[in-house]
């Protein structure tokens, strides 16, 4: 072996500090100071927290934004851990799959606000301390982030190309090594995209996750969400403006420090083996690659990971292609157990609800669900009419798309509560019908998913198709009908599914709206759940009833409407 001929890239591990090191050092140091300060906040007592109320002073917002950002980060880490375990189990075990996947489907449809019935559990974990309330807040953010990430990871694990799996087995990779060398890298690009969506989702419910109600008490954890809640109470438009600015800065930091580098490195993970266009490398990634300190930390981490990759001892037990009779019996027993547990849960829930809720009210709740359904349907239709043409226009112009996409992403993170002031004032001033004029709030955050996806679809139209349609003289409506609409349709359906699901979820936050002492309520399932929840103590049977009905609506619609539509779009409009 001629070591002198080793390429530079292999030998580069002498330590020479450089300019990027200084920047990396400053950032890492700042991060540790930030963690330490936040941790001190955790150990404080609730009484102390109540004695220092939230201040609307813009200077206080810096600290609040830092706290909110950290909560999001911790929740994101928890979501990632959940994703790696839950989705892996669902993808690897056929028996676990039949339980975990429908459960995830259900959890995804449960409005985040319904999870707030578990706040009391967390607060009681550490009586009198802030930590319990912080855990509750992080849990609520987690519930707005985790499900779609887990779904994305599960789908990726199920779609790893056969030959890569075979190669991994042929070279006897241990399960741990296979996870880090094959499964995680393969799942990374869609997972990162879902993490970005999750962070937007977390922001959307930031108010609900920080301003908590526990029995008689209201706990306002220091953060942007509590700040917005207070600003709404005090009808302070200026404070709302400051909150928007703070949110913008935190989202920008997340984008620059976490997501840009992740996206750029995930570009290498893509399976298509053509030489992709090399986008300019984000500065944070350059820092990570150039900085020797970070490089050393990274290598140490990789080494630790590798030491976990113990060689797989050949599995001695024969793996037969056909399953034995015994394993089929075990299958039967498992399904029987699941069915029994399901029936038990159903019976429990039914008796729990029946104790307080008359049968007639169930019918009433279903009618409320239909009202909300009508609202969602009309809004999605309207949003589609506006955003599909805009998305196609933008998608055809890469330069514009580059500017629009981050803006739309920022808008998707906008908590509805920021608009309460304008909407309530307008409704009261002009004597408008809340049933109609509160509705737009439901779709404020979610309509952007339609726009995102249509942009992606339009930019994916091959230049050949565009030239061909130009060459054939397709113009006006014919151009839309024959080229643009069919080309973006599968992408549009993906966006519309997300938008519709999100709107159902948002109905709980958007059908009852307060600005100062003024409260405006629309009829609908969201308002029903919100009302049951805001009594003290919360009316648990009604929260559960409303949540179950809402979930049934969402899951059923997905099954009977969206999925067939998506399958059809996939079949009909994708070439090859």
């Amino acid at each position: 072996m001629r070591l002198d001929r080793l390429p530079l890239a292999v030998l580069r591990n002498r330590y020479v500090p450089g300019g990027w090191d200084v920047l990396a050092f400053v950032l890492v140091f700042a991060f540790f100071v930030y963690l330490a300060q936040a941790a001190r906040g955790l150990t404080g007592s609730l009484a102390h927290l109540e004695a220092t109320p939230i201040s609307l002073d813009p200077h206080a917002l810096v600290g609040y934004a830092a706290r909110t950002g950290l909560r999001m980060l911790v929740a994101l880490a928890c979501s990632l851990l959940f994703t790696f375990t839950y989705a892996t189990l669902a993808a690897k075990s056929r028996r676990a799959e039949v339980l975990l996947v429908p459960l995830l489907d259900f959890l995804q449809s449960v409005p985040i606000l319904s999870f707030s019935i578990v706040i009391i559990f967390f607060v009681q974990l550490t009586p009198g301390r802030v930590a319990g309330a912080e855990f509750a807040a992080i849990f609520l953010i987690f519930t707005s982030q985790a499900w779609n990430m887990a779904f994305s990871f599960y789908h990726s694990l199920r779609s790893i190309p056969d030959e890569l799996v075979e190669a991994a087995r042929n070279f006897q990779l241990s399960p741990w090594m296979r996870f880090w060398r094959l499964e995680v890298p393969f799942a990374m690009p869609p997972l990162i995209w879902n993490m970005m969506m999750s962070v937007s989702g977390g922001w959307f419910f930031v108010v609900a996750s920080e301003a908590l109600t526990v029995g008689e008490n209201r706990i306002a954890l220091p953060g942007v969400g509590s700040y917005i809640a207070l600003a709404n109470d005090q009808r302070d438009y200026a404070a709302i403006g400051w909150a928007i600015a703070a949110m913008f800065v935190v989202i920008l930091l997340f984008d620059q420090l976490i997501f840009r580098p992740l996206i750029a490195s995930a570009d290498w993970f893509r399976l298509e083996q053509e030489t992709g266009q090399t986008a300019n490398s984000p500065w944070a990634l350059t820092m990570m690659r150039r900085s020797h300190i970070l490089g050393m930390i990274g290598r140490a981490f990789a080494g630790a990971l590798r030491s976990g990759m113990r060689p797989a001892r050949p599995a001695a037990q024969p793996v037969r292609a056909h399953e034995s009779r015994g394993s089929r019996l075990a299958d039967l027993a498992w399904y029987a157990l699941l069915i029994a547990l399901g029936l038990l849960a159903l019976w429990k829930a039914a008796t729990f609800i029946r104790g307080d809720v008359p049968v007639g009210e169930v019918r009433h709740v279903i009618v409320l669900g239909l009202i909300t359904l009508l609202r969602v349907a009309v809004l999605i239709a309207l949003a589609s009419l506006i955003w599909v043409p805009v998305g196609v226009w933008v998608g055809m112009r890469p330069r514009v798309a580059q500017i629009i996409q981050p803006v739309a992403q920022f808008l998707a993170a906008f908590p509805t509560n920021l608009f309460f002031g304008f909407v309530v004032s307008a409704i009261v001033l002009f004597h408008l019908t809340p049933d109609i004029w509160l509705s737009p709030l439901m779709i404020l955050g979610t309509q952007w998913y339609i726009l995102f996806n249509v942009i992606v679809g339009a930019s994916a139209i091959s230049p050949d198709l565009r030239y061909a349609s130009e060459n054939l003289g397709l113009t006006g409506w014919l151009w839309w009908k024959r080229l643009a609409l069919p080309a973006v349709f599968p992408f549009y359906v993906t966006g519309a599914i997300t938008a519709a699901g999100g709107s159902w979820n948002a109905s709980v936050a958007a059908e009852v709206v307060s600005w100062g002492r003024e409260t405006v309520t629309a009829h609908g399932l969201g308002a029903y759940i919100a009302a049951a929840q805001s009594t003290s103590p919360p009316d648990l049977p009604r929260v559960v009833l409303g949540t179950v009905v809402l979930s049934v609506f969402v899951v059923t619609l997905n099954r009977v409407f969206w999925r067939p539509l998506y399958a059809r779009a996939e079949r009909k409009f994708r070439l090859s």
Binding site: E163, P311, P314
Partner: protein, 439 residues
């Protein structure tokens, strides 16, 4: 130097009576491999040759321990292979490189899994990279490489763990002709010089020329179910030249062996043609290819009767393209195939002479008369007052006889031939057959 291996050497690999079947959704068994026996001795390259769907890739996966057989046994050095074994590695048709790892990291993969110390791992990987001609590409990602370079990474990755047996699953078929040729001869040079750390090679291919060029022994597979029907020893010295008459003679022999039908089916004229029930699986061949093939055989110098190797070379068709097409023509009674030759029937000659509508009419007549499934579809459509029928209706029927994928392909074939012949129409968005053509 590897042309003739001494027979006294104990086999490295011994495959005894291997069966492989899959269970279909309705509980029936679908037999893919039936009673396959083969052995691999040190110093030889053995080729598995057969048409697509003959189960040769399945056999390779049984041997690799990726998908154990349902009956019989694979023994490697006297041990039964039930899971991937350390001494057997594989080179994949689609390379199967991890796109997120560099060339060096890809090559290191197998060593990493074995827990080889870092320094040793790097030394051996760089050695393998060097050997296989990838110097300078250590830090490149697979997507920066051409197909040929990618497959070199595949070879280096498989060789670096010093296996005894190298399995190759159509390793050159995803490459262009020139690149494949270069890679083949590089491989043969290294093998001939004894530079490769392997003892024997088992390769799957559907390229007859490649098989004759590389292998010491060829095993020919039949289809449905996969069985070894004959064995050919190639005792030409390396390097072998495609223009050598002995080389050509061997190629002819392989064609002859591959077009021999089982003795039982040869008794009467009617049974010479396969596909007598609706349960016959069809391989999709475009009507364009059928037309082109008949025209080519009709023209001089063949004038209605062509040597398959010659026509394959002229039309640049590989076994996987040529045999299904020849079989389809045979099924439609446009040609007879035997002894490595293809002869057009009267109808086939007529078809080649006709043009446009006449052709379609002739094709339609033969399709309805000789392809029972086409007749069946047409009959169902005629009988129904709506003159339409769901595709799933026929898929369910076919799945009594074959796997889901085979049923899907068979229907695709029937749809494409039926459309060409204008015997019936098919609407993909409704997944339904009908009698009216869309306006």
């Amino acid at each position: 130097m590897n042309a003739v291996a001494p027979l006294s050497l104990a086999p490295l690999l011994d495959v005894q009576g291997v069966n492989k079947s899959f269970r279909k959704p309705d509980g029936d068994e679908l037999v893919v491999l039936e009673n396959v026996n083969l052995s691999l001795r040190p110093g030889e390259i053995v080729g598995l040759l057969g048409r697509s769907g003959s189960g040769k890739s399945t056999l390779l996966r049984c041997i690799a321990g990726l998908d154990p057989p349902t009956g019989g046994a694979v023994n490697y050095l006297g041990q039964e292979v039930l899971a991937p074994a350390a001494g057997i590695t594989m080179v994949f048709q689609s390379f199967a490189l991890f796109p997120w790892l560099t060339v060096l990291q890809n090559v290191q993969l197998g060593l990493e899994a074995l827990g080889v110390p870092e320094a040793e791992m790097r030394r051996r990987s760089l050695q393998a990279i060097d050997l296989i001609g990838l110097d300078g590409f250590e830090s490149a990602y697979p997507r920066e490489l051409s197909g040929g370079m990618r497959q070199r990474v595949g070879f280096a990755r498989a060789l670096v763990v010093h296996p005894s047996i190298l399995l190759m699953d159509e390793p050159f078929s995803a490459l262009d002709v020139l690149t494949a040729e270069t890679l083949r001869s590089d491989f043969l040079d290294l093998w001939g010089e004894g530079q490769l750390p392997i003892k024997a090679v088992l390769m799957v291919t559907h390229n007859i020329e490649e098989a004759v060029q590389m292998c010491d022994r060829l095993l020919i597979f039949s289809t449905n179910p996969g069985r070894v029907v004959s064995e050919i020893h190639v005792d030409l010295p390396q390097p072998r030249h495609a223009h050598d008459p002995r080389f050509r003679a061997l190629i002819d022999r392989v064609y002859v062996e591959m077009t021999v039908r089982p003795a039982a089916a040869r008794s009467s004229k009617a049974e010479r043609f396969p596909g007598t029930g609706i349960g016959t699986a069809l391989t999709h061949v475009s009507s364009n290819v059928l037309q082109g093939l008949m025209e080519a055989v009709n023209e001089p110098p063949y004038n209605g009767k062509a040597d398959l190797p010659a026509i394959a070379q002229e039309l640049h068709m590989e076994v996987d393209d040529l045999f299904p097409a020849a079989e389809a023509l045979q099924l439609l009674r446009f040609a007879e195939v035997e002894g490595g030759d293809m002869r057009l029937t009267e109808a086939g000659l007529q078809f080649a002479r006709d043009d446009g509508d006449e052709r379609k009419k002739l094709f339609a007549r033969h399709l309805i008369t000789y392809v029972p499934l086409a007749a069946h579809v047409r009959r169902v459509l005629d009988e129904r007052s709506t003159h339409s029928a769901r595709k799933s209706r026929f898929a369910d029927e076919l799945e009594d006889y074959m796997s889901e994928e085979a049923a899907e392909e068979t229907l695709r074939t029937i749809i494409s031939w039926g459309r060409y012949a204008e015997v019936f129409a098919y609407d993909d968005s409704h997944q339904a057959f009908s009698l009216e053509n869309p306006v």
